[in-house]
């Protein structure tokens, strides 16, 4: 409780000093718009309905990319984790594709998929793919050997060992990858829109830059931050629900 209070006080202090500084310093509105100007822009954007379609679009792109990327990443992680053969053959390619800055591929995707939603979903999916792949692969390869022997003793099939031991046991690690993917998915969608979007919050930032409308840019940045925090909090709740049975306790 005490920490929350201090945290809130810090936030208030930040807002007040922003407002005061922007008035006293004499910077032009283009460089540092005042908090009140930004909030006024944000308010009118929300009440006139101007911002909502963009928020909706970015949210949809982010969710579609996240779902696609995580699903493919999870499946690939499981397949590579189960098959030593595929892992040996494909691992160098995975490393190589990991080190490519994924956003550098965005222009190529625009050539392939055109401007708009498809390209941005593909970019977002590609960015979300790796944390899920990496964590799933790590999780199902690092199962307690005694538990694996237990399943062998019990005559479990490979599928049973996967579904009833490896995936549940690896779930906390897999979910840690999912959390990273959620944060990255917003980066993917917004930056994807910088490059290949006509609409959406990222495109709005570029547009406001073109119009030299800094209050709008700040307003959009606030919207993106809030959107990210909502998604992150939802992820935490989802994770808590999914891992409700994994009560943390001493194993011995």
């Amino acid at each position: 409780m005490k920490h929350k209070l201090i945290s809130a006080a810090l936030f208030a202090a930040f807002l007040i000093s922003w407002e005061v500084f922007s008035r006293v310093s004499g910077f032009s509105e283009l460089v540092l718009p005042s908090l009140s100007a930004v909030l006024a822009t944000l308010w009118s954007g929300l009440t006139t309905g101007y911002l909502w379609p963009h928020i909706w679009l970015t949210g949809v792109e982010m969710l579609l990319g996240l779902a696609t990327g995580c699903a493919i990443g999870f499946v690939c992680g499981v397949v590579l984790g189960e098959s030593v053969f595929l892992r040996r053959i494909l691992y160098p390619y995975i490393i190589a594709s990991q080190v490519i800055p994924k956003l550098a591929l965005a222009p190529l995707f625009i050539v392939w998929f055109g401007f708009g939603m498809t390209s941005i979903v593909v970019i977002t999916a590609l960015i979300c793919f790796f944390p899920l792949l990496e964590n799933t692969l790590t999780a199902i390869q690092h199962i307690d050997p005694q538990k694996r022997e237990l399943f062998r003793m019990l005559g479990a099939t490979r599928m049973q060992t996967l579904l009833r031991l490896k995936i549940p046991a690896g779930l906390p690690v897999i979910m840690a990858g999912f959390r990273v993917a959620v944060v990255l998915s917003l980066v993917g969608a917004v930056v994807g829109e910088f490059i290949g979007g006509r609409d959406g919050l990222g495109a709005m930032i570029i547009a406001s830059q073109g119009m030299m409308d800094s209050p709008l840019m700040f307003a959009v940045l606030i919207v993106i931050t809030v959107l990210g925090m909502i998604f992150f909090q939802a992820t935490i709740w989802f994770e808590r629900w999914l891992l409700r049975k994994h009560v943390t306790g001493t194993e011995q």
Binding site: L150, M153, L154, G155, L171, G249, E251
Partner: protein, 251 residues
């Protein structure tokens, strides 16, 4: 006929570079039906490997292992195994953990739940069936692991230092409960430990192992049923000393 028999069993471990190391070296042993045998030795003497060979988790390089006269191939229902750590699945309840051997084969029915209840009572965990496995104490987790190994009523039970991580009092309680279970079910038991007093207290016969070889075979003539008092008797201590001296081999 011997219930479990090992003849000239040899097992070699190859490390990552393919360098062979002899872990079990020509081991002969036989356990009669319903007998309780203990295998003692220092850490790294190969006793866990030997137990895994008997379980079918590892295959011998040469020699043979037979259960009830049948050569052993793969792990199967006829053997229950209790690991060094309880190895409970943290995301399941106590009941789900104990029923795991059944639920991997079919959906547990009413008869299985009755068996579960009676097993829970036997290991002193009645009323804890719906607890999460990780909410139990170390001793209780070991009890769950034993119940899980017994749910399919295997004729042979193998235990790999199951009580090593527990405090002395809890360990004695579990030893007594294990003896009770053993008496009531006529299970054939092979129990691996490095604790000499534990081995002498539990066993009908003790095998002492060193560097993969059987170096001493000792019959324990103490009367059954045994209780805690016997630990302080002269005969018990003489037997412990006997085992201890057998382990004093020059390195």
């Amino acid at each position: 006929m011997d219930f479990v028999s090992l003849q000239k069993v040899t097992h070699t471990y190859r490390d990552a570079n393919g360098k062979p190391e002899l872990i079990v070296d020509g081991f002969d042993w036989a356990i009669g039906e319903g007998e309780f045998h203990c295998l003692v030795g220092r850490s790294g003497c190969g006793k866990t490997t030997l137990l895994k060979l008997v379980a079918g988790l590892l295959q011998p390089d040469s020699g043979s292992i037979a259960l009830q006269g049948q050569p052993l191939r793969d792990p199967g229902e006829q053997v229950g195994f209790v690991f060094q750590r309880p190895t409970l699945l943290e995301w399941l309840t106590v009941a789900e953990n104990i029923l795991l051997p059944i639920s991997l084969k079919r959906k547990p029915g009413p008869a299985d739940h009755e068996k579960l209840e009676s097993l829970l009572a036997l290991v002193g965990l009645s009323g804890l069936a719906d607890r999460n496995a990780t909410q139990l104490s170390g001793g209780q987790q070991s009890r769950v692991a034993i119940a899980r190994a017994l749910i399919l009523e295997p004729p042979v039970l193998l235990l790999d230092e199951p009580f090593a991580a527990l405090d002395a009092i809890t360990r004695e309680e579990l030893q007594d409960d294990l003896l009770k279970l053993f008496r009531s079910r006529n299970t054939t038991v092979l129990f691996v430990t490095h604790d000499i007093r534990e081995a002498v207290y539990l066993a009908d016969r003790v095998a002492v192992m060193d560097r993969g070889q059987l170096i001493r075979d000792l019959t324990i003539p103490l009367p059954r049923p045994r209780d805690g008092e016997i630990r302080y008797s002269q005969g018990f201590n003489d037997l412990c000393a006997d085992v201890r001296h057998a382990m004093d081999v020059p390195a």
